[in-house]
């Protein structure tokens, strides 16, 4: 008996890794009148669903997937959300 889980993986650059896209967005903000915005970081959101027996199994599989493919652990961190459908 397996359940479908909706998964959201957020991939972000690790602290200290250059984020030119984030810096460029941040520098553009004052031109639009947005002041005081700091620390802009641009990442990726990857959504999919997965079939698994339980939430812990689903999470283990997703974390393995993140480590081996969706993120490069040398430069990126991931945050995983697993929700039963």
């Amino acid at each position: 008996m397996s359940t479908t889980f909706d998964v959201l993986v957020e991939v972000s650059l690790r602290p200290g890794i250059a984020d030119p896209e984030g810096s460029t967005v941040e520098r553009a903000l004052p031109a639009l009148g947005f002041n005081g915005v700091d620390g802009v970081r641009v990442g990726k959101a990857i959504r999919f669903s997965i079939e698994a027996g339980d939430e812990a199994t689903a999470r283990t599989q997703v974390e393995d997937l993140c480590h081996r493919f969706l993120a490069n652990p040398v430069i990126e961190d991931t945050r995983v959300e697993v929700t039963p459908r």
Binding site: L13, I17, A18, D19, P20, F69, N72, V74, I75
Partner: protein, 223 residues
Amino acid sequence: MTARVGVVLFPGSNCEHDAVEAVESLGGKADIVWHGATSIPGVDAVLLPGGFAHGDYLRPGAIARFSPVMEAVGRFAADGGPVVGICNGFQVLTEAGLLPGALQKNAGLKFLCTTVDVRVDSVQSVLTADASVGDILRIPINHFEGNYTCSAETLAALRSEARVVLRYVDNPNGSTDDIAGICNERGNVVGLMPHPERASDPLLGSEDGLVLLRSFLGAGARR
């Protein structure tokens, strides 16, 4: 020199013909090998060219490392075969775990398309064996993700084992320790961001890449 070089073509590679041309200009033979190939029989050396393999989707090299040919390239490298990755090819080699570290986005926020001076800092690799330490080579670069980064332990190992083969004279992209190219422990797998095949004829403005490609072909011919 009769080395036969397999030049791997991924969907989105765009420097494969330049590489073939440069290899042939040195008297070598070159075969373009489709990324779907599961074996690479009869080649003495493997070259992963520049470009945007699989559209650079997810990260440069992230999907290319799963191309069937990469298992064969891994076996060839494990057997001591000479493998060089140029630009996107370097990114593929790091993603495949054949070289340590990663290439992050350039520190200066810009895609760089220019010609730079690089210094040969180690000749213990298949790409630099015929050069001399201290040689300054003028070679084009063409990348957005060329800023080499790695853990402190990896950097210490690269330095103490003379595995940083090329350094930028004037760091264009923020690369750690001015690194432009590195090799593995055995020196048979090399990755570099500059494009030696684009510095292979006086008409291109520089022939400084030839010494690197000649070293590579020599390593292939000795197999």
